[in-house]
Symmetry: C2
Subunit: 202 residues, 2 copies
């Protein structure tokens, strides 16, 4: 059969398909959109992708993504340097910033413990966290890994590591319960259990 699509089109469809959540149908749709869109749409996109890796690196203090050696959040003197929120990914930093009430620093682990997928403590920025808590005057660590088996296990592991290292610091975990706007009727059992356990005086 003769080719219905040229190689350059197939190559882009394949490249898009390697992105998470993008199947072959979406990949074709995006490719044909770019074919029809003004030249600068593809130029801008290609340029931004190329620059992404070359311009960014991990902050040497908190391991968030940054263009400098130390990120803006770590350099911001108005933020409380004694308080660290420990998160899994850079996007979690954004989520906490969006809440608008946190004024401490961060520490990005770049994952959670997941032995089955070959992710162990040495693949995460845990040793760096322990060192940071030991050397800086930290008063509280808010372990903000996701609620769930792996996030919980990672939080527990960090707590144990700090205690093994003989570092004393207040350690907290984000509250669990019903999300704002949720329907009690449709909430899963684990969430309702946590909401009951964590109930507060009114």
């Amino acid at each position: 059969m003769s080719k219905a699509i040229p190689d350059s089109v197939t190559r882009l469809i394949e490249a898009f398909s390697r992105l998470p959540g993008i199947g072959p149908k979406t990949a074709s749709r995006l490719t044909y959109f770019l074919l029809r869109a003004p030249e600068d749409v593809s130029t801008t996109l290609a340029g931004a992708i190329s620059e992404l890796k070359s311009k960014t690196r991990l902050c040497k203090v908190c391991f968030n993504i940054t263009e400098e050696e130390v990120c803006g959040l770590c350099r911001d003197e108005r933020r409380d340097a004694k308080l660290i929120a420990v998160v899994e990914e850079p996007l979690d930093v954004l989520a906490i910033e969006r809440a608008g009430i946190y004024n401490g620093r961060y520490h990005v682990l770049h994952g959670v413990l997941n032995p089955r997928e070959g992710i162990f403590a040495e693949n995460l920025k845990i040793k760096e966290l322990v060192e940071r808590v030991r050397s800086e005057a930290i008063t509280e660590l808010i372990l903000s890994t996701n609620p769930g088996m792996e996030g919980d296990a990672t939080a527990t592991y960090i707590k144990d590591e700090l205690s093994r290292a003989g570092v004393t610091v207040k350690i907290t975990r984000l509250a669990r319960g019903l999300p704002t706007g949720a329907d009690l009727e449709h909430a899963d059992a684990a969430t309702v259990m946590r909401a009951l356990e964590g109930r507060q005086n009114l």
Copy 2:
């Protein structure tokens, strides 16, 4: 507030958000995926996007996307040159090829008539189609624009244009009815109406 995301990250999130069906959340997810993925994933993607426009053009016969002056489908001597399927978009060529039973040529209109969005006959490859039918020995035109108001109107317009041009050719339209695997119970009224009108002897 200090910046939680570096500019190069924001730029890529924005570039991804300009693609159809990609909201800000998906755009962030894709960007952070590329940040963590091996270098060659982004290099390949950026390269494929850059090459897309520079390497491709429209076939001068059928206006499908190609890397040559005349596309592979038009150059394939084994295909019936007397039969033309008229489609809206290059992706429609693929859809018909996938069916595996069509052995004619194509003509890509690059859209359908849509006066409200400023798409008129002169914005589509209709004049070129009439010219092609006039100059080549075409026996049948399968008007394969999408079933629906605009696709139907475009098909009717093409039929009228051919008759105004004094060109005689057999003109057909793709059959309409229940899609394979459909539930009659859930089919919309217009589809059931077409299925009844087009019913066949068993």
